[in-house]
Point group: C2
């Protein structure tokens, strides 16, 4: 195609390692001046494209780009903004192509979850139908780990390492205090529909340890749960509980439903940890503490998994290479070759196989009692939390980088959707 | 005194580094077989002494003791159990001496906060009055950093590093999402009366950054706070808030008062973070997220401050050396010699100067607006979070140690208080 420009956007909730994907992509692009001109990033994700609010990533020198590898958050801004069907959001899709045309963008890289893979897929379809040459490549990212077509989602491994470590540390604390103080500790974990993050908490202790998981895949049964908590306290002196924000009751309602919805139409959750803690206190009269790590779990770059950081970087780099090799409408997915030793490679997965599907926890990953994970689950999770990848520190705190990004001159009239 | 035995107990809430003090003490004792026989630990703290439930720390080999240096929680168990005055709890104090006599204990090391230093002081007084030769040495520990007679309290520096790092990471996350999602992020920090931990959150950003601190030293003024949040969002796009669990309203009531009290008579707090988040959402209609790290902050050994870990180890070691040098009724306090470069030494501080006092944040550490920390505060805090001291990892998670401790044979009838 000759030299053309690229557009990269981050989408949805950011993670500890999404910037590592940006780093991999930008570094790879800079190795190919014969094919890639300017790498633009959308300020605040796809909204930046719609509003023609572009960042020229050349504003980041090599050291800054390298530092993105260890910087959490989203360096160019992300957004929760879902494009609907090609019919419903026709004007927006056309605007995207218009902006791409105006800036001679021949490569579109979309770094996100299910919704983003769907958008990338639709943009690819529209570009093809319009005869506009555009390589569309998805880069997986989501702490929820619910994308199909990839062994795991970059971002998840680091959250998994964080929640498992945090739970283990809290269990050491509670074990020491239980004789006169807290007997039950509850930690609420992210994960709307799939219990991957809650399952990862299970790595904190052996299967017969004093740790119960409340997964969204298992309908919550208060009496059974309370009985199990009581048994655990009697046996071990204390009990730790990891509860998914997506836990549901027998009526199928989210326990922590907060009543409001985000821009994707997802219910905004929170509060189930508090509910479980109150239930235990009220019914069993144990002293209870509870924690809500919230954003801390997905931004904890200080405790990133090396596997995760490496994979996040690799999918960014692979996305660029796939595009250069002529692929389009694919995602740079991670393919697991073996569990132990963990071996993997990046594969080009058709976006049509990925979009609008959710990878749930397989039943064989959940223990028969519903409160534990199986050995098969541990074999899956184990390599994802392996290895440390510490950021540099300055004055005692992680030294993260910010990209100072002037706006690229606009070439089009303002867009009103 | 010839060879005599020692008794060590952990007291109150455990920390990421209290076991480092145990490590320092035990290692130092093992270097002095000419003076120290068996080092006993109280199972679950002072309760272990009252119940003659002793652990012979010889059960921990050198590698295990060394591993205590990087293991959070309380290896021998701690407790929330406060001895009252010598008059009110006469039988208990006498029981302590009785147990000490029965096991030829000539050294009493109490590793805790204000209440523990008071107990150690009273035991020293009673032993002296009884003519029982007993060296009583306090080892400071409390994440609240509210002990006098020491530059800081081991345990605090690691919490400070954890909350400042966590807040910084969450701010990177929110900064990336604020255009379409969360505008205000609230994190609740521990600290009953003194705002040290909340102040440490201030290290996450420069003084003019989008970060407000709600300190217990400053009466909460909802209107002024909301106005400041709004200004901050307008200027920076988002606002982060660190709120102390000890925040009080104009009537002097704890905002998060949960209504129950622990064994020390302290109110059990929790919930003020949620209150602040709800207030912001209700009054300013910004999307808000909030986090409650709870025990995660005080058990986060994976992110310990090296300064803190070194000092915790050093006060344990010094306590033993002070006792051997003939000191009693003293605490191994940390004396700051200079801020930058940070220089310190351990000093023997009379327990009478320490017990029952609280070190509050000095007014000159709090910014004129009441929401920030001053440069003087930063100079104080900075060295306490300096340096990393990573634990070893196995299978992707920190490899912490447990002490398997058989009970020492009892020599006395059971005690009923």
């Amino acid at each position: 195609m000759g030299v053309r420009n690229a557009f990269y956007a981050q989408s949805g909730g950011v993670t500890a390692v999404i910037n590592a994907s940006a780093c991999g992509l930008i570094e790879a692009a800079r190795e190919h001046p014969e094919a890639i001109g300017t790498v633009y990033a959308g300020r605040n994700g796809i909204i930046g494209a719609l509003q023609e609010d572009l960042i020229d990533t050349a504003c980041a020198d090599a050291a800054t780009v390298a530092a993105l590898r260890h910087t959490p958050g989203g360096a160019f801004g992300s957004c929760r903004y879902k494009l609907k069907s090609l019919e419903q959001d026709k004007l927006k899709y056309e605007r995207l192509l218009e902006v791409f045309r105006a800036h001679d963008i021949g490569y579109f890289f979309y770094n996100g979850g299910n919704d983003s893979m769907d958008t990338a897929h639709k943009v690819a379809q529209l570009a093809a139908a319009s005869g506009y040459p555009l390589a569309c490549v998805g880069i997986p990212k989501t702490v929820d780990n619910d994308l199909v077509g990839t062994d795991n989602c970059p971002g998840f491994g680091s959250v998994a390492k964080y929640v498992a470590t945090s739970m283990r540390e809290a269990m050491y604390d509670v074990a020491a205090m239980a004789s006169t103080s807290t007997r039950v500790f509850v930690m609420e974990a992210m994960g709307r529909h799939a219990g991957w993050i809650t399952a990862a908490c299970g790595l904190a202790a052996p299967a017969d340890g004093p740790l119960l998981l409340l997964l969204p895949e298992i309908v919550f049964d208060a009496q059974k749960f309370l009985s199990r908590v009581n048994t655990t306290v009697k046996e071990h002196g204390y009990c730790a509980v990891a509860v998914s924000e997506g836990l549901r009751n027998a009526e199928g309602q989210l326990m922590g439903e907060a009543g409001s919805r985000d821009a994707f139409g997802h219910a905004q959750l929170g509060g189930v940890g508090s509910q479980i803690a109150q239930l235990v206190k009220a019914e069993l009269n144990y002293k209870v503490h509870w924690a809500l790590p919230d954003y801390l779990q997905r931004s904890a770059r200080h405790l990133a998994s090396r596997t995760d950081a490496e994979q996040a970087h690799a999918v960014g780099r692979a996305a660029l290479e796939f595009a250069l090799a002529g692929h389009s409408a694919v995602m740079a997915g991670i393919e697991r070759l073996s569990d132990a030793p963990y071996s993997w490679r990046i594969a080009a997965v058709p976006l049509g196989d990925v979009a609008n599907r959710e990878k749930m926890m397989p039943p064989e990953f959940i223990g028969a009692d519903g409160y534990t994970i199986t050995d098969a689950c541990r074999r899956y999770l184990q390599p994802l939390v392996e290895g440390e990848d510490y950021p540099p520190y300055a004055q005692g705190l992680p030294a993260y980088v910010r990209v100072t990004a002037p706006a690229v001159a606009q070439r089009l009239p303002a867009f009103r959707a």
